[in-house]
């Protein structure tokens, strides 16, 4: 197979080059990759801040959380409530839900270590805390899963052979893990009108696909997340992120929060917000985020200064 061996070896060589390039330059692929790589530094920064006498707030969620919780408003509000030099961190990968939040938290705040935020604000949309299939095994494998969790994820969380293969491949190859980022990067920049057209095309694709929705909504993974937080209940707040259409958090989620004794704030999610509050039609704009964060502070922060730690 001499000739074909040359073909295959040259393919392998170029793919290895691509792998090296992907590892070296993956942070340039998207803001999401940059922030996920930066998650590694959060525990260390929290440890240093706490050692310097600062209080640390971790916002856990996705892009809804990043958009809705305004760090400046939160820090000022906490100072007004007597918190010493509060600092806000975001553990909020794009397009994530309870699966990604659980594994990302367990990776960066493992039970074997004592570093914990002083306060955790978990920000969710209507369905993000309900049990659902893993959306991106690649992202979970390459960026969010701790080595000790990989076996459990492979065995119990992933349900199809395809998901398991993608999980394994993304674990060994960054080229594979980041492959979905190349297409939008190229088309959004090079094809005029792609953004609008892609929305129409993807909408049609979603409508034509049958989503497997469980008959009864459950929140078992959310319970796993609450167990994994390893924080007293009064240091955890669950907030529903406002969306263009108002909603209430699901019953299964509320049941788990009442069992754990966690403060819940979803009045704002149930309120009608003006459409200007969502400049891109989904995420809150900065001024609306300031209002939401202020409401969140007023409604849920009953702590006395110094009680937190």
């Amino acid at each position: 197979m001499k000739t074909e061996l040359k073909v295959i070896l040259s393919l392998v060589f170029v793919l290895l080059l691509g792998e090296a390039g992907s590892r070296a330059f993956e942070s340039r692929l998207s803001a999401d990759v940059r922030q996920m790589l930066a998650f590694e530094e959060i525990p260390q920064e929290i440890a240093e801040a706490q050692a310097a006498g600062q209080t640390c707030v971790l916002v856990l969620g996705n892009s809804l959380a990043r958009a809705a919780v305004d760090s400046e408003t939160l820090e000022i509000g906490l100072i007004e409530k007597g918190w010493p030099q509060p600092k806000v961190f975001y553990l909020a990968p794009d397009g994530s839900g309870v699966n990604e939040w659980t594994t990302a938290y367990r990776k960066h705040f493992p039970s074997s270590k004592t570093i914990r935020p002083d306060l955790l604000i978990l920000v969710t949309g209507p369905g993000h805390l309900l049990d659902h299939s893993v959306r991106s095994p690649e992202k979970l494998s390459a960026f969010l899963a701790a080595p000790q969790d990989r076996g459990e994820i492979f065995r119990d969380w992933l349900t199809t052979d395809s998901e398991r293969c993608r999980f394994v491949l993304a674990g060994v190859s960054r080229l594979f893990a980041n492959r979905d980022r190349v297409r939008p990067l190229m088309f959004y920049n090079l094809v005029p009108g792609y953004e609008v057209t892609a929305q129409r095309l993807n909408r049609a694709g979603r409508e034509g696909r049958e989503e497997s929705v469980p008959a009864v909504a459950t929140a078992n993974r959310f319970r796993t997340l609450l167990d994994s937080l390893d924080l007293p209940a009064d240091r955890v707040i669950l907030a529903g992120a406002p969306l263009p259409e108002s909603y209430r958090l699901p019953e299964a989620v509320l049941k788990a929060t009442s069992e754990w004794g966690i403060a819940v704030f979803d009045d704002s999610a149930a309120a009608e917000w003006p459409s200007e509050a969502f400049p891109d039609g989904y995420h809150m704009g900065p001024s609306a985020a300031g209002v939401f964060t202020d409401e969140l502070l007023q409604a849920t922060f009953q702590f006395e200064p110094g009680v937190i730690r």
Partner: protein, 476 residues
Amino acid sequence: MWFNSYSFWIFFVVVLGVYHLFGHRLQNRFLLIASYFFYGCWDWRFLLLILFTTAFDFYAAGRIAASEDAATRKRWVTASVVVELGILGLFKYFGFFLGELNRLLFTLGLEHWEPGLRLILPVGISFYTFQALSYTIDVYRGRTAPCRHFLDFALYISFFPQLVAGPIERSHHLLPQVENPRPRLSEARFREGLYLVLTGLFLKVVIADNMAWLANPIFSSATEDLNGAEVLLGAYAFSFQIYGDFAGYSAIAIGVSKWLGFDLMENFRRPYFARNPREFWQRWHISLSSWLRDYLYIPLGGNRRGEGRTRRNLVLTMVLGGLWHGAAWTFVVWGAIHGLWLATHRAWIARFPSSQNGKGIWWRRGADAFKVVATFHLVCLGWIFFRAESLGQAFGLISALGGEWEVSDFFRTGVSLMLFFLVPWLIFECWMEKKGDSFALLRSSWLVRAALYLYLIFMLLFFAAPTPVEFIYFQF
């Protein structure tokens, strides 16, 4: 277990590894088990049907071969045809005909009948039924000797690479390969298989799925919301979706069979380079069109009984060919369009025989290019009926083509994406067409091959469609 799924490739790697450890007889047994496992992955109940088909046709062919009496032979071949077409009719067309009957009864103001029975369509039934029929008919015609071993025959019917979507093999081509020792995996076989598998995956995952991504919003929109340019975009996109989908499946099937020592028949030969409908059907789904020719068109009389009968036979064959694709009027009309087109083309050629002698090379090339473009557009017109959910939608889309034309942002972006995905592949097909060789790449330098494979892998890795689509022909 689709060819574009990870599960299939894990399955195939295991099968390939174990298969080459065995001698011929054990290879056959192992392939049969693997094939039944492959088929049972969809629904184990389908296995009962394929077992029945296998057993019945094995027995019928045995009786045909054992008898010298013409009447007995005819009785058994008729039984085979009736049973096979009966099964196909029951599972595939029962619901359709019942629905049409109910509609007729309702129109006449009569009470309609709703059966409690709901039949699911077994995967690949149209393919293996036709393959089984070709065996009994060929034994009857004396073209094929009856298979001596039941398990060999079972493998001929259920050979997993081509079981669910073809190519529809003939007994005189595939059966000897089952019965006799096959070549080991040589460099030439490996090279051909690799080429076919990579191009097949590219055609399916990159071309077909991305074209589906473009075509689906058009065909799922209300026709009054579409302008002519958008319908044209949808028709173009679907024409390449169905080509990539089916040609891709066939290429993978032939490629993996190469690695197992089998040579399956070619199923697609750059069909959109055809210059007329006759040539199109010599390049598109060759295994079906040649099956219809050998077992339907020729028995109907073919071209032996005058022009009128020939044209009738062409239309009838193509209408039934259309119905083979599915139980819907859209497929019947699609078949009729092709039948009428073939008949008209035949009449045209008889009246105006083509003569390009004495014309310059550029004139001839120009004329050929015009014919290719015209043929492609008529094929696209047929695809609108093939893809449409109903005849009403198909006519609505065609009338939108003749209505207002507006170059919208959606159209512009769609065209840009089509060019991005299709142009490199069409250039490659142009090159093959010029060489007149589907395997021209294998005769070029290894560097050229490596460059093309790199492009294919690059596209597979980074430009797979956002939503994978199942193979269209699985439902036929």
